[in-house]
């Protein structure tokens, strides 16, 4: 074995193959990041520069579009508050439902547990538009259209299967012996859950919560179809910039940046937690 081989990190390719792979990885990365870069740059341009056919990367940045997007009439803070309430609310309700469901399936499995799990996740195979009419009619009858409660319920239902699945997989990584030891030590099911299982599964639960929060925050189909103004979220706010007086790229981009910024910032701070949670128990 040569010295260069010894120094090389395990699994890393050397030479031309390695360089090509690195270039490919960068290309894919930049391609995926490009829309975000484009939106941020466009938001900092004037409408005139933004609409120019030849793309410009060097320009004098302006916050004019942001000022316009945040102007009093735009209602940004109203939409943002709705987004926070519905995303946070659906995440908390989702966790409150997913934890006991996953607990029962992980620690007291029945013959139908596997089937139930697959069935729950299979509901995600159906496109949302497929159930739009019945949901809309039921919501209209119950007076839930354009309400925060109605949207929170929809977001909860939308994310629940994936939340149960995730929490279930974290619970499965906890040895059953620990649950049994707690039961012999005198703990009730609730005490076992709150004092033993939840503290152990905390990274996984945090990760599940973050994912649910992101999915609810970014949801647009139900927000656009089931709300008008009262419960409308930032998705509706962003969409509102493409109508009316015409298309204004810079203002639309600024609105998009303002919509995605909170969740990107949250995701940035929580990325370590997310990675830890998503790989929780992967290596024993």
């Amino acid at each position: 074995m040569t010295a260069s081989n010894v120094d090389q990190a395990p699994g890393r390719k050397s030479g031309a193959g390695g360089t090509a792979l690195t270039l490919l990885a960068w290309l894919i990365g930049i391609t995926m990041f490009f829309p975000i870069l484009w939106v941020v740059l466009t938001a900092l341009k004037t409408e005139q520069t933004a609409f120019s056919m030849t793309p410009t990367f060097i320009f004098s940045p302006t916050l004019e579009s942001f000022r316009s997007a945040l102007a009093q009439g735009s209602g940004y803070w109203h939409y943002a508050l709705n987004s926070v309430i519905t995303a946070l609310g659906s995440t908390l309700v989702g966790l409150a439902l997913a934890i006991p469901a996953a607990y029962a399936m992980a620690f007291y499995p029945s013959r139908r547990t596997d089937f139930t799990l697959v069935w729950m996740v299979s509901t995600k195979f159906i496109p949302a538009v497929g159930v739009l009419i019945p949901v809309f009619l039921v919501y209209r009858s119950l007076g839930l259209l354009d309400t925060r409660l109605g949207l929170t319920m929809l977001f909860t239902a939308m994310n629940l299967p994936i939340m149960v699945w995730m929490v279930y997989s974290y619970f499965r990584d906890i040895p059953v012996d620990i649950v049994e030891a707690a039961s012999i030590d005198g703990a009730s099911t609730t005490q076992t859950m709150f004092r033993v299982i939840l503290p152990l599964a905390l990274p996984g639960l945090a990760s599940t919560g973050l994912l649910a929060l992101i999915l609810a925050w970014n949801e647009s189909f139900w927000s656009l179809t089931m709300t008008d103004y009262h419960a409308a979220t930032l998705a509706v706010y962003t969409a509102s910039f493409k109508s009316g007086e015409g298309l204004f790229w810079a203002r639309l981009s600024a609105a998009s940046v303002l919509t995605i910024a909170p969740i990107v910032v949250l995701g940035w701070f929580a990325q370590r937690q997310m990675v830890r949670g998503l790989t929780f128990g992967a290596v024993k």
Partner: protein, 383 residues
């Protein structure tokens, strides 16, 4: 302290979640046992024999599908584990990873809302007995295997339960630590006098720790007895082969009048053995069981009560040497002296004392009579 009674206890799985084809499995059948107050009972047997299931039924972690389990006269079959006043030590230790050693040990008492001072006192006492006082602030991940084992014992100890249940608690430790902890658990039992059930697949652990041993196989009790009686008077070929290291040697023999003849050997029967075997016409064949420690190396010229074969394996263990000798189709293990002066490929002649011979039915494997205590009047082995 308590008397534990298991009466006609059975465990039947109608189906196993996630496993097809395992329907209607009988994990334990007709289990009957009554302990003495403060007795140390060991459940031993190969994997899947039902020993852990039996213990889990006593703990209440599994529900017995038939029979009764009584602790101090009270039927606990439908009582939750937390209300049975038992403590259990798990094979995996099952310590709570997010709690310190102190809180692991105090958890059960805190749940019972025991006053803090009392909790502290009992944890300190248990920690002192187990010599883990200096570890109380640590988390389980910062402990070695042996230390975790002590904490698991400590967690059971602070409860001051009526019954201790230990499910293979030493199997994750290295050989040296296992021997140390074996002695420590025995000492602890003598000191506390709490009725204890101990599950193991290791017959050495069973023999050294148990006051009574329950040997199990395929969900059924094979024999319940003291270590001495299990060794000296096994009731069937399974128990005879399971108890003792290395295992007992079994040779098929033909019953001819007052002698037994097999491939390369013959031995005459004592009056007791003749009675046990009955007529040669009734039982023309049987199994002859000889423990390795009852085979002795003798000179090739000697003529009576002998086995002769070629040495295939030699295992020097220090004070003794194990030799595996091919006799016809059978590989026989003999325990020889420290320096037997033998080599692989040598022909070795072994003598056995007919007083220590065990006889088993060729079909049912049941023991035929029990080997008599060694005496001058017992049968003589002949060539």
């Amino acid at each position: 302290m308590a008397i534990v009674e298991l009466k006609d206890v059975a465990k039947r799985y109608d189906s196993v979640p996630g496993k097809k084809g395992a329907e209607h499995a009988n994990a334990v059948e007709d289990f009957n046992l009554t302990t003495k107050d403060g007795e140390f009972v060991v459940l031993v047997g190969p994997s899947g024999c039902g020993k852990s299931t039996t213990m889990r039924m006593i703990a209440g972690l599994e529900h017995n599908t038939a029979g009764e389990i009584r602790i101090n006269g009270q039927d606990v079959s439908d009582v939750e584990p937390r209300d049975r006043d038992i403590a259990m030590v798990f094979q995996s230790y099952a310590l709570y990873p997010h709690m310190s050693v102190y809180h692991n040990m105090a958890f059960a008492l805190e749940l019972k809302k025991t006053p803090k001072e009392e909790v502290k006192k009992r944890v300190q006492e248990a920690a002192k007995i187990l010599d883990i006082e200096h570890l109380l602030d640590r988390k389980p991940r910062a402990l070695s295997g042996g230390q975790r084992q002590r904490v698991a014992l400590g967690r059971a100890l602070v409860r001051q339960p009526q019954v201790f249940l230990m499910d293979e608690p030493l199997s994750n430790l290295d050989a040296r630590l296992r021997v140390e902890m074996r002695a420590e658990i025995t000492r602890l039992h003598r000191r506390l006098g709490v009725t204890t059930f101990y599950v193991t697949h290791d017959q050495t652990e069973a023999m050294t720790m148990g006051q009574r041993i329950v040997v199990m196989r395929d969900g059924r009790i094979q024999q319940i007895d003291t270590p001495y009686n299990l060794y000296e008077r096994p009731v069937n070929r399974f128990v005879a082969g399971f108890i003792g290291t290395p295992s007992m040697n079994f040779l098929q023999a033909d019953h001819q009048g007052e002698t037994l003849k097999g491939e390369g050997f013959s031995c005459s029967l004592s009056a007791h053995q003749r009675t046990a075997l009955g007529d040669a016409g009734q039982r023309p064949r049987c199994w002859l069981g000889i423990r390795p420690e009852h085979l002795h190396q003798v000179g090739a010229s000697s003529g009576s009560g002998r086995l002769e074969g070629v040495i295939e394996v030699i295992e020097p263990l220090g004070p003794v040497t194990m030799a595996q000798v091919r006799i016809g189709e059978t590989l026989v293990t003999a325990q020889l002296g420290a320096h037997p002066g033998i080599q692989i490929g040598d022909t070795l002649t072994l003598a056995f004392d007919p007083d220590h011979v065990h006889l088993f039915d060729i079909d049912s494997d049941e023991a035929l009579g029990v080997a008599e205590a060694p005496s001058a009047s017992s049968a003589q082995a002949t060539a």
